[in-house]
Symmetry: C2
Subunit: 378 residues, 2 copies
């Protein structure tokens, strides 16, 4: 990637919260711009489960994430490329980010083998033996054509020893160099590097130095929200974020609970993604301004109020807990649509409130008010 060329994705700072140092901005991409801090709904298999593109746009979604591993296995990157790329394949004209596939293959802990070359694993579709390398991940992501693509890294487990983490983050650094070398579309796809380092502040900092040595258009923090206590994650963020360049977007991977979104924003994160809102929605749990609510519960059988009395989404304006419970109990698709819709709206609206609180230099106050109402222990 030439130093002189304008990157396809770039960050524009709008305001820094005087109370917290959190930042509000805009990320510009070849498929439109989105305000940050931003939550990215996850469309694993080229669809955000249950939702249409128009519905996602209607609630203000500016970028979605899709999974390289899943699209590689099915329908295959050749078909997505032949369709004209992921945007056209799935009828989504706003920004898309693809992950590297690494998270999925590293999650198959009993069926993988890691080497300097890459990771050998077995397909979850047909059990066939596959090899994922930095070059392969980038080649697939070049075929898929997302606006932001991710470096192939090892997302290290928790807990893990220093002795495991240190060589892993060094290998992730070498893999990053291979990702950059093999990237064929730097003019219209922004490659983000990923900081690892487990739960060790000095190793996080070492990984941040290795990663930011490359002049990439954005940086991510991976390997967090993998089972560690919240305070430990926050310490890792505090150790890492200050080392990331201020003029590039910062993406905290796999994070989507309301407390993590707010605490991450407080610490200078710009982008988040998580399957949480769609996954718990399909299981009959919704997020409300008063905390989580399991709408499948029998107690809601005759509750003709909205999921959240403070919510102005389509679901809360038109449907009752009793009806949604009925749909879920009856196994009706529309029930999953409604809980998914509400949960995504809840998080996208939360990020609007976070951005507004940053503009008003009161994100700490907002955090305290939200935590109290939601029932989080501060």
């Amino acid at each position: 990637m030439s130093e002189a060329a304008k990157p396809p994705v770039y960050y524009e700072l709008k305001h820094v919260c005087a109370q917290t140092g959190a930042r509000r901005g805009v990320v510009h991409t070849p498929h439109g711009s989105f305000e940050t801090p931003a939550f990215m709904p996850v469309g694993t298999q080229a669809t955000v489960k249950g939702m249409s593109p128009e519905e996602l746009k209607g609630m203000g979604t500016g970028i979605i994430l899709s999974n390289t591993y899943h699209l590689w296995m099915r329908p295959g990157p050749d078909i997505v490329q032949a369709a004209g790329g992921l945007h056209r394949f799935m009828n989504w004209d706003r920004a898309v980010l693809t992950d590297s596939g690494g998270f999925q293959v590293f999650s198959f802990s009993d069926r993988k083998h890691i080497s300097e070359d890459g990771v050998q694993f077995k397909s979850h579709i047909d059990g066939s033996r596959q090899l994922l390398t930095p070059e392969k991940s980038i080649a697939i992501q070049n075929q898929l054509g997302a606006d932001i693509i991710m470096a192939f890294d090892e997302c290290t487990p928790y807990p893990a020893s220093r002795e495991y983490i240190k060589p892993s983050l060094e290998r992730t650094g070498r893999w990053l160099e291979r990702c950059i070398s093999s990237h064929q579309r730097p003019q219209d796809q922004a490659l983000f590097g990923i900081v690892q380092g487990g739960m060790y502040e000095d190793l996080r900092q070492e990984s941040a130095r290795i990663t930011t040595a490359f002049n990439l258009p954005g940086f991510a923090i991976g390997g967090l929200s993998v089972g560690e206590p919240a305070e430990l994650m926050y310490r890792m963020l505090d150790a890492t974020v200050p080392l990331l360049p201020a003029n590039k977007p910062r993406y905290l991977m796999g994070v989507g609970s309301p407390d993590y979104l707010i605490e991450g924003s407080l610490r200078g994160i710009d982008m988040f993604d998580c399957v949480l809102p769609t996954r718990i929605g399909r299981n009959g749990t919704v997020m409300t301004s008063h905390g989580r609510l399991i709408v499948r519960d029998a107690r809601y059988a005759r509750d003709f109020t909205a999921l959240d009395d403070h919510c102005d989404c389509y679901v809360c304006q038109n449907y009752t807990r009793a009806y949604i419970r009925h749909l879920l109990k009856a196994g009706e698709i529309f029930g999953l649509r409604l809980t998914t819709w509400h949960n995504l709206h809840f998080l996208l609206h939360l990020m609007e409130e976070v951005r507004e609180a940053i503009s008003q230099d009161r994100l700490r106050d907002f955090r305290n008010e939200f935590f109290a109402a939601y029932g989080y222990v501060s």
Copy 2:
């Protein structure tokens, strides 16, 4: 029901096709009017599987059908009544028709017992022993609050002997009298009687005479499309429809394939319902102007054309066969939404074309053109 009171549902004739005698009209209900001949999407459990009310309205749905048996079992009519009735429960402000529950309990052929009183059967939810009678069916339908409710009848199987059919249709006539007597909301719910009679023209006519002896706001033909050859069904329609009053809507129950919709309209039918478009859609089959297409098939993996090149629905304007196939193979909800959407649009659009052909006195010509393009043997 008083002779003088204006019925809650009434038929307005607009035009009779000079070529065929088919009729175009409007049915007026307490929740709006719909043009006929009309197809009614089925919302078994207070939702048309996969679809939102707004989507149904957007494609011109004026009335949906919901199933009394299913709503009785779950969530129970008390909950629907407490919600303010079926319309409010499911956020549907256009017309609703409920069936009597008879079709479902008679379908449980190995677990039912028919008597003069009604039908004993076992619940499909918990196996509990239940009794459905004319009075019970009407009481539940009064609680659900649909605009059109159906008499409790025996939908006789095919094949069945004259010796079985004749006492059954006579009992259905006696049950109709009990339905009328127990109906508590004739001012805002229109009770339709149902003609039975198996596949015997004279018994169809006898049932029609028994049923139309009551001054009801509409009449249905039941017990057809139960496995008999198409020509036999058409003969039964030819024997029955002329005996139904011309100033009342005529409803052919459980019919929804394109050929049956056109042939039924040709014979003077105004209303149809069927799970076909939603059910085959969920199984990966769509209807097109060139006939059925199994979009799950491997041959469509790289087919980047629309489901139907003649269709202007949301699905055909925005998605390819390859993408929809991918979604279906991957088990994604959005795939079911798209196939269901297209199929419903296809039938609702077909009925628009049928109505237009009636207005232009060329329904026979339209039928021949459609059959040739769809691949039906004429």
